[in-house]
Symmetry: C2
Subunit: 205 residues, 2 copies
């Protein structure tokens, strides 16, 4: 059954989870599809439909219990344990990602960082030492890492993707502005700020 759920629905679950965490921080225990709708700019019918794929999380008229729904969404998204992540690229962006405080409380920890620049290899970002790119395959395999973030120049992104996939990675967050080719069964998400901006300029006067 899980495979029938549209990927676009899966993509909204992290947004619901993020907002539920905020509501929880604000001290709320109960919310409703209407409250979520107002805060997320998604229709309440859409929210109810999305959540109904996974079970009855609330009763008509009583709303959603926030701690319970958070726990369920974490289980669905497999966030009931922390995921180790390999970061490839220790340039400006890589360093910003390595220092970013928003990963750990959402289920992810960068545990290894690689670069091919001799000036960076051996240096520390936080408490992680940058390793030589030639170690990527061995280290990812040894660490049984399934998730990699690629923050390298466009020209080397495909080769890096090939290497991390060969080593066992099954999910890539790619910051290089290039569409990567990977085998079936490997997921890729793209972050390309220029593409996001271009999407919006279409609508500007």
């Amino acid at each position: 059954m899980a495979s029938e759920i549209p990927d676009i629905v899966i993509g909204r679950l992290p947004v619901y989870l993020r907002e539920l965490s905020r509501l929880s921080e604000e001290g709320l225990e109960i919310t409703s599809s209407h409250q979520l709708a107002e805060r997320l700019g998604i229709s309440s019918a859409q929210i109810r439909k999305d959540l109904s794929w996974f079970g009855p999380f609330g009763k008509q008229g009583t709303g959603y219990n926030i701690p319970y729904l958070r726990e369920q969404l974490k289980k669905i998204l497999k966030l009931d344990h922390e995921w180790p992540v390999a970061l490839i690229g220790a340039g400006d962006l890589g360093r910003a990602l390595a220092r970013y405080g928003g990963f750990t409380h959402r289920g992810f920890r960068i545990v290894m960082i690689f670069d091919n620049d001799p000036a960076k290899i051996g240096s520390y970002i936080g408490n992680i030492q940058v390793q030589a790119a030639e170690n990527i395959e061995e280290q990812i395999r040894a660490g049984q890492i399934q998730i990699a973030m690629i923050a390298v120049p466009t020209s080397s992104a495909q080769a890096i993707a090939d290497t991390v996939v060969k080593a066992g990675v099954r999910a890539i967050l790619n910051y290089a502005p290039i569409t990567l080719s990977v085998q079936n069964g490997v997921r890729i998400q793209y972050i390309d700020p220029a593409a996001h901006l271009q999407h919006m300029t279409y609508y500007l006067g």
Copy 2:
């Protein structure tokens, strides 16, 4: 008519443009929906359907002329001139964005940077001096800036969004992991790497 085109189609145009630029760099003059499909992992039928919203860009059997299609996509996405962009936040991420080389050849130039940290105000990132956050509204209005990138902590993101929209911004690229509330007519795109990762862990074993 333009308003009838699904937003998801608009969102794919920057990806087509990016790949056409790559093909062009590789020395190609002609491509096809099949070649694009293979390189992008999108079906050729989808690509033809997306492009057909905007006109007949190729004849059956002759393929697409790459320079012509690039120019047309740039016009459609309003990239036939450069857009000035205001960057709010000069932390690790803001500095990485300010130094990122991938904006200018894709239609964008960061022309002003703001922060509220006295230690950062007055410092330079590249050739741009970081200004005090209290100047945001006046400077954006004076520069007639329509695009802002928000790279501030979650707790101040909504207030910053309110300020830039008041000053005339109509498109926001938001890096703070929070859904922003803005008036109708203002576009927002979200970049939240943890949410992207959570989207993929659903599929991991």
